[in-house]
């Protein structure tokens, strides 16, 4: 099984620990991980802001980089959702504009084999106990694209519940958006900040030491609000929790 890691541009540039955690976790589970250097960004920032044509080269790039892999794993619900939900649309629009089937074929070649990390663990590897150890109280925020576009359901929770030492705290209004929304956070700063501050208050009320999600972009916003408010709650990507073991060497 040849698994390509799509680390995502946000993780690559700002949260390399998450990518390293995915590699450690998957290798521990016996998966051989490959990182094609030709990869970059899924194109979500451009596409969701209205620059569809700027997105197209990145669709081609993604398809080319992962052409030979059996599965593509991304530690991001929103980037996996971008590929699965929007790549077919981008292909269809190009066809409708009389520009041939090249983009729809590129989309079709990667859509069925692109997985968000927890989906891959539960659905493809068939594991919920990944042998992790994380002796902390944690609350889980289901990110919007993971929840509503990918339909991750309780997969992340099932994985977290099997982590030794971890105590999961319920988050009030968990399914409400944190207010990040990509460029929304910059275009509508007042509303985005209001949403982030309501989310951070709900997180604080859980009394957990850490808040975890399947997306570092949401965590960047939530963590940014928490830090500004002086909260001790730590933002942690789910991969970093699942990669944790009792072995201090890691």
């Amino acid at each position: 099984m040849r698994v390509g890691l799509f680390v995502t541009c946000v993780n690559d540039s700002l949260y390399p620990r998450t990518g390293r955690a995915v590699v450690a976790l998957l290798e521990r589970l016996g998966v051989q991980v490959d990182f094609p250097m030709a990869q970059s960004c899924c194109g979500q920032p451009m596409f969701n802001t209205g620059y569809r044509h700027q997105t197209e080269p990145l669709v081609r790039r993604y398809a080319a980089a992962f052409r030979d892999h059996d599965h593509i794993v991304a530690p991001s619900g929103s980037c996996a959702a971008m590929v699965r939900d929007n790549y077919p649309r981008i292909g269809a629009r190009a066809e409708a504009e009389g520009r041939g089937t090249e983009l729809s074929e590129a989309a079709a070649s990667v859509v069925p084999k692109t997985y968000e990390l927890t989906e891959f663990l539960v659905d493809v590897l068939g594991v919920t106990d990944v042998g992790a150890y994380f002796p902390h109280t944690v609350t889980y925020h289901p990110t919007c694209h993971g929840l509503r576009v990918l339909g991750l359901g309780d997969r992340p929770r099932r994985l977290l519940e099997r982590v030794e030492g971890l105590e999961l705290r319920e988050l009030e209004g968990a399914e409400e958006c944190c207010g990040f929304g990509g460029t929304f956070a910059v275009k509508n700063p007042a509303v985005s900040s209001a949403m982030g501050s309501d989310k951070s208050r709900a997180i604080a009320r859980t009394g957990a030491e850490a808040v975890c999600t399947v997306d570092n972009s949401c965590l960047m916003h939530i963590g940014g609000v928490l830090a500004r408010e002086g909260s001790p709650v730590r933002p942690v990507h789910i991969a970093e929790i699942l990669a944790g073991t009792k072995d201090p060497a890691r």
Binding site: F35, M37, E176, P189
Partner: protein, 506 residues
């Protein structure tokens, strides 16, 4: 007609003084900025939307075939919209056969002119109104006022909005931004100048407020000779119009006056009576979280000795056929105005309904308004961006409008321009002004992402200078650092780590 002591509506900065109109409103981010700082408004909205959201979820969960009903609703609407020309002609024939008169209005001005002329012809100077989104959309009350005709809103929430010289901020509950204390003050201060004054010593108890409104409105119902309504549905096969409501005030307006004028968007057509069964299940549960709404009024033309003796139907286009021409955007016309999307929307909850600058606020307003009016001003151009694309609206929509998909589609029209239909003619619009910097940034980002070697060099520069980077950003980035800390730039990107430890090459 002057409004003595008129006040500017509250709930946000930038509203025009002294007149309840959405014209000239600021772009969404500016209007929302003021609303997020209004603690009372946010508390009112949070309480109201969370209450109805929870009730809706329970009402929907009662039906195990909800998903199939939703599909059926979407399918009926889509099929009808595809052949709308045909169904509208059938509707016109049926209404005419039943003794009504049909008028076609291409836009707001034409619809207002038709209604004003019809009222003038009766010799009356006042009308009673059933709550109607279409007449809000065209600004009928203001147009009638200019012609010396006073329109009295009879829906309780619309009455509160009208007396407060305010604007509606929610599809179902237009005065959702007001609490009981504010409503009591409005009744006490304003009822006398519109008709029967509020009783002495009025408190903010809901029963007392409702009784004050009932007494005030009863005088209007018994006096008015002309009623103006909208409709939730129009059945093409019989020419029957349907209004779904909770209070019964609509039924009074529909049956007591001698003349009834209904102004209805053309997309409200359903082909047959059987189609209603789907929507009469979908609408109340999504809207008021009731299994069935208390009043469903249906009228077909005129009948001797029962109801109005004269019936006029004004079929309103006002941007609808242009919207129909857009393959992605047309799904917005499926909307049955239930307001479920507003009640789950985290952006609506913080920004309030006024920020959307139209009688259609919330997620549906963000896609409907720019399509009906065109991307004609900074307000309409800002609406497709008034969403975090969280998808909660799509999840609850009873006719499965993929609102996030349409938002992104309209963002493309704003950012890149493209083909749109304006008054039936295909036109290529240019990208919106003010997006030049953003477009350049997106192009630069795309270029870097399409050249991973350059991206990697950029990452290294960021890493090397990370101790020198400011904690607060200037320019557009300021919006981020005003309320949030920036993430720390790592010493080594993932890409570099992989190359160093695994020996990959670019």
């Amino acid at each position: 007609m002057s409004r003595d002591g008129a006040r500017a509506p509250r709930g946000g900065a930038g509203f025009p003084q002294g007149g309840a109109t959405y014209l000239g409103m600021p772009a969404f981010p500016q209007a929302a900025d003021a609303a997020t700082r209004d603690g009372r408004l946010r508390a009112n909205l949070r309480h109201a939307t969370h209450t109805i959201r929870a009730k809706r979820a329970r009402a929907v969960a009662e039906l195990d075939d909800w998903a199939r009903l939703r599909e059926a609703g979407a399918a009926i609407k889509d099929r009808t919209l595809r052949h709308l020309d045909h169904h509208l002609v059938r509707l016109e024939e049926a209404v005419t056969r039943a003794g009504g008169t049909v008028h076609w209005a291409a836009d707001a001005a034409e619809a207002n002119r038709i209604v004003t002329d019809l009222v003038r012809a009766t010799g009356e100077h006042e009308v009673v109104k059933v709550k109607s989104m279409a007449t809000q959309e065209i600004g009928l009350n203001e147009a009638l006022a200019e012609a010396g005709i006073r329109a009295y809103e009879t829906d309780l929430a619309e009455l509160i909005v009208q007396l407060g010289d305010d604007l509606p901020s929610h599809i179902l509950v237009p005065a959702i931004h007001r609490n009981r204390g504010e409503i009591r003050d409005i009744f006490r201060d304003r009822m006398a100048s519109w008709g029967r004054p509020a009783p002495e010593g009025l408190t903010d108890r809901p029963a007392e407020l409702a009784e004050a409104a009932r007494q005030h409105l009863r005088e209007k119902f018994l006096r008015a000779k002309v009623g103006v309504s909208g409709a939730n549905f129009m059945v093409a096969e019989t020419g029957t119009l349907v209004v779904v409501e909770s209070e019964g005030n609509g039924r009074m307006c529909l049956t007591l006056p001698e003349t009834l004028i209904s102004v209805v968007g053309i997309e409200k057509t359903v082909p047959t009576w059987r189609d209603l069964e789907v929507f009469l299940q979908l609408l109340p549960r999504s809207s008021t979280a009731e299994r069935m709404n208390p009043y469903t009024s249906m009228w077909t033309g005129t009948a001797d000795g029962d109801g109005p003796r004269v019936f006029h139907l004004v079929l309103l286009d006002n941007g609808r056929t242009d919207t129909l021409a857009d393959e992605v955007g047309r799904q917005a016309l499926r909307c049955i105005r239930c307001s479920a999307c507003l009640n789950v929307c985290p952006v609506y909850e913080r920004a309030g309904g006024h920020a959307y600058g139209s009688p259609y606020p919330g997620p549906i307003g963000a896609i409907l308004t720019p399509q009906l009016r065109g991307l004609s001003s900074p307000l309409e151009e800002s609406l497709p961006y008034a969403s975090s694309l969280c998808g909660a609206c799509f999840e609850v929509c009873p006719v499965a409008i993929d609102i996030p998909e349409v938002l992104v589609h309209l963002r493309e029209r704003v950012a890149e321009g493209g083909e749109v239909t304006v008054r039936g003619t295909r036109t290529v619009i240019r990208p919106a002004k003010g997006h030049a910097t953003e477009r350049a940034a997106m192009r630069a980002a795309r270029w870097a992402f399409d050249h991973p070697g350059a991206l990697r060099r950029g990452q290294r520069i960021l890493a090397r200078t990370r101790r020198l980077q400011p904690r607060r950003l200037p320019g557009p980035g300021r919006a981020w650092t005003d309320t949030r800390e920036l993430p720390a730039v790592p010493a080594e990107s993932f890409r570099d780590w992989w190359a160093r430890t695994r020996g990959g090459t670019a």
